[in-house]
Symmetry: C2
Subunit: 146 residues, 2 copies
């Protein structure tokens, strides 16, 4: 029992030592993916946005029903990029689960394409799934503060 | 290596055999929690709603900023129950992660307290975390289809 506890303690310490760098690496990866997402959005490239989602991804947009699949996701973003630009995503919390899944809580800001542009402030929850060496979006839900 | 593969295969089969009943049990538990959530909502019991969230839970409502903590969550629902009733939650997808966490995609319907009442149709993503023998809501984000 002593051995078990001691071994459990070593494993726990090992896990903690490993977990922080793995978490930091996942956050760095997701930061880059969020930058790529914004770059695609701000260029109006709906196909590049859709390619960042898993094949069975679900997107739950404010103002419309939930959608699944690359074509519907591409169509959704093709519509949104006509209305909004200058998008920025900021992670507020990232929780990883076993290095194959993570969920992110974040703030989204953008500007409308009205004249003059209006600030749009929203927030989102994204579930990420590891796909090979990178990550894909499995679930994306967002809403606006106003 | 053969032993390792064979053992890995047995573990994998064991996991698959165990996973389906565990998943069904988690879905049954979450169905009951969703029923309790709706019962509390439809009675206007914001304290009971707040008690279903983890201490560090985040709620991201449409039309307002994200909030954290029991008091803010109670205040949010105290406001919402004045506007809406007859709430129903229906799970569309439930994904469990290691029996300590799950995320749910669902449809929410309700009726406004206007006269005559209007249908409100929305959707949500909830991250659940196991807390002892039950589960608490760690993240709750929702929006409306119209």
């Amino acid at each position: 029992m002593m051995w078990l506890n001691s071994r459990a303690a070593r494993l726990a310490v090992g896990f903690m030592l490993c977990a922080a760098p793995a978490m930091a690496q996942t956050q760095a990866t997701i930061n880059k993916l969020n930058e790529a997402w914004c770059a695609a959005f701000n260029k109006g490239d709906a196909a590049a946005l859709a390619a960042m989602y898993a094949d069975d991804a679900t997107v739950l947009p404010q103002g419309g029903p939930m959608i699944k699949g690359a074509t519907a996701i591409k169509d959704l973003w093709a519509g949104e990029v006509k209305e909004l630009g200058d998008a920025k995503l900021t992670t507020v919390e990232l929780h990883t689960m076993g290095e194959v899944m993570a969920y992110e809580i974040g703030i989204a800001t953008a500007k409308t394409k009205a004249n003059p542009p209006q600030d749009a402030v929203g927030k989102y929850v994204v579930v990420w799934k590891r796909s090979g060496t990178s990550w894909k979006i499995a679930v994306d839900i967002f809403n606006f503060d106003k």
